[in-house]
């Protein structure tokens, strides 16, 4: 060491060694550092967890890849925004790493999330959060409604009476679908009736409401825009043993079953598996601002009984159940 000190080069060599060691540590820790285990909360509206099976599977596939686990959290009710806010609060307080939300009320949940200023990824699925800067993976709802309307106009006569079940319109997805359908059929059918539950109604149950409407009003075609309403309508028709032509936007097993049984004449169906997959990918991917997913619009298609077993449709309508 004396030689080195004499020449004054010891600091230079020592610095070199330190730099090299830093590089080693950086590489060693960088390469071997395992991605930490994360948790994703998939918060959905409604109490039926099976209805979200496709969505969950899509998200779960990504979570397995990304070393994360996912919990599907349903509500006690269909569209109680306060309950959903409580769930969101609970999950964030429990330290979830990402939120995937199917909002029961777009504006309320959207503004709630915006005000919370969360530092974790928040992704909306199925329906937007009403706030422009919030990421959402959803089909083109207006287009879905419009195309279903075109199908209706195409397949039905121009004098039919069309009843539109206007439920859950606090969700942007439903409102947009209804708007699309209205734009497509306006002035192209005989009559349009809006079946809308009165806020003060003593019959909060949708099925009962629909049964009442079915009994009290004559209609040729009924249109529904979401799973719960479609399922309720199917139950109402079955209960009343009535057969109306139903055009629906839904993804439930019951809807598919009734499509086969011809109770539903045309079903606009979206790929919720993709929705879940992309939402989870967005939530868990380290490159958070990944442009790849920025403009993803979930595809949809209109299925009838005749084509429901086509190769493309059956993979959509009949997901593998593990």
């Amino acid at each position: 060491m004396k030689y080195l000190k004499e020449n004054g080069s010891l600091p230079a060599i020592a610095s070199t060694i330190v730099i090299l060691l830093v590089i080693i540590i950086f590489f060693a820790t960088g390469i071997n550092r395992e991605e930490e285990h994360r948790h994703v909360s998939l918060i959905v509206y409604g109490e039926d967890s099976e209805r979200w099976e496709n969505l969950r599977q899509g998200a779960e596939l990504v979570c397995e890849e990304k070393n994360a686990d996912i919990s599907l959290i349903t509500m006690m009710s269909e569209n109680d925004a306060e309950e959903q806010k409580d769930i969101i609060n609970r999950e964030t307080e429990d330290g979830t790493d990402a939120l995937i939300i199917a909002a029961c009320n777009s504006s309320k949940i959207g503004s709630f999330i915006k005000n919370k200023k969360l530092r974790i990824p928040v992704v909306f699925v199925e329906t937007t959060g009403s706030e422009e800067d919030m990421k959402c993976f959803a089909p083109d709802d207006y287009r879905m409604g419009y195309e279903l309307g075109e199908e209706l106009v195409d397949k039905e006569s121009d004098i039919v009476t069309v009843s539109i079940v206007s439920e859950n319109t606090e969700r942007d997805s439903v409102a947009l679908r209804r708007q699309g359908l209205m734009d497509a059929i306006e002035n192209k059918v005989g009559r349009i009736i809006i079946w809308e539950k009165n806020e003060d109604s003593k019959n909060p149950n949708t099925r009962t409401f629909l049964q009442k409407e079915l009994v009290s009003r004559a209609t040729d075609v009924i249109v529904t825009f979401d799973n719960s309403t479609t399922d309720a309508l199917m139950d109402a028709l079955e209960n009343l043993n009535k057969s109306s032509k139903v055009y629906s936007i839904a993804t439930s097993d019951k809807a598919v079953y009734n499509l086969y049984n011809k109770r539903i004449k045309a079903l606009s169906y979206t790929n919720e598996f993709s929705m879940g997959y992309l939402a989870a990918m967005y939530a868990l991917d380290r490159s958070y601002s990944q442009k790849r997913y920025q403009d993803e619009v979930i595809d949809h298609r209109i299925v009838r009984k005749e084509n429901m077993y086509d190769e493309d449709n059956q993979t959509l309508l009949f997901p593998f159940v593990d």
Binding site: L20, I24, I31, G58, N271, L278, D299, Y309, F320
Partner: protein, 600 residues
Amino acid sequence: MPGFIRDGYKKRSLQWTISLSFTAISVISIAAMAIAFYTHSINTIRENTIKENEQIVDQVSWNLNSYIRNMMSISDTMCYSVIKNRNLTAERINKEMNLLYDANKDNLTSIVCATEDGAIVAASPVSSRKQGVDLKKQEWFTKACDEIENLHFSTPHVQNIFDNSNYRYFWVVSLSRNVELTYFGNVQNGVLLVDMNYSGIEQMFEKVNGGGVGFIYLCDGDGRIIYHPMQKAIYAGLVKENNKIHADHPDGAFSETFDGQERDVVVKTVGYTGWKIISVTPTSELAPDMGQMRNYMLMVAVIVLVLIIFGNYFISYVVTDPIRKLEESITYLEEGFTGNVMNEDDIFIGGSHEIRHLGRTIKSMIRQMRKLTDDMVREQKAKRKSELDALQSQINPHFLYNTLDSVVWMIEGERYKDAISMVTALAQLFRISLSKGNNIIPIKDEIIHARNYLNIQKVRFKNKFSAQIDIDPSIENCATIKLIVQPLLENAIYYGVEHMDGEGEIKIKGYEKDGDIYIAVSDNGMGIPEDTLATLLTDKARSRGKGSGIGLWNVNERIQTYFKGEYGLIIESELDEGTTVTIHLPKVPIDEYRKEDGSK
């Protein structure tokens, strides 16, 4: 080598150059070695992974073959043991069919026997047929009818034959074949369908995909996917698979780049079905192993590198330190040259044999140089002495000639006493001139000498001039070069007072001023013209070789040779007024001079 690198090298020390060069070579060598080793290791890992995957694929193939053979044996049993030659008009086949179904219901969804018109002859389990379903339009049926001699395996599809409550549906893989149905003794074609539960195949593959790297999937001969761990994502178009290419590939292992990902692929065809079991291992999934290997390599390389840097530095120090010390001693020596304190003992001798030899050689060289320098100095001194002697010898004949001329003149004039007196003075003059060989004598001797000279010249010039000598006693014992006053007197006589009309006057005044000694010889002669005065002490005066100049030049040269610097002659002259030539000497007592001279 680029100029800037070359220049950089030139500017750096030898140790730095050696260290850097060795380190650079070491880094390159280690990097090359590490890369080679790493590449080899990675290739080994990949080869091992491929071998492992081949084994797994073989195992899966064996399991799948068993499963398929089992299904085929069910179909064969139904076909040959139950349906063939059975008069279906009178006998039912449901019982046997149910037995077979029950025995294999874990793997089966249903067994169906239908006529070529699509009418169901028998089915197990018993279930109501869906309204409006035309079996003839289903792929498994048409294939069985089109190629009656073969067994046909479909890709996974949702069974669309029987009604099912609770919205249940079944994903199945259909095994269909043509069978001969006997009615009333007539044989007609029919189709036997064995719907294998898709989940059986799915579970088989899920087990092998549960751990390890990569995945295994199954497709038919046309590349249509039967099982894939990302099947749903593939159906949704979210994930892509290179299944068409894989299906066309012969059995074996190969590498490919698909969707920007490098992958190792193993393909194996499943017996009768023509299905392909395909193992895919993205190279990136080997990263954990590769990462460990890379870390290890990096760690070893860095440690070795650090050791090499230290080693290089130490070795280069050991090698170059003696050279550096030698260089430093030579630098010191160079400084010593200018300071005249050169000492060859300061030359460093150490280090390796070569450097010691170099040091010794330089030392020897310095010694020789020093000897040469001393010799040169000595020679120079000798030369100067010789020159001085020559200068002095230039005086003696000159003066002797003049004096003897005077003596001759006296004898001719029969002034024998004067001649005797002059010769006596001359003898005294010569005695002082000799001064036992000393060039430096006391001023008092020089003045005696001058006085004798003046006495001689007075005789010669018939007392044409008077002389006064005034010497400060305090300087009488100080050193002077001998015979420097006499030439001045000679010039004063010959060129100052000789040609005067009146009596000439010569004064010698010796005094001390500002620590130096001045001996002024003045005359009241004609003086020296200004242009002559300017050249009196220059080489021109010497080159003239005659006249007053040569004597003065000689005296000045002798004073400067001995005492150097500012000492010498000062000549002041005014025409028709006279000339004063002043000797400027350092004040050095004669005893001190002799002591110093003796020590030298």
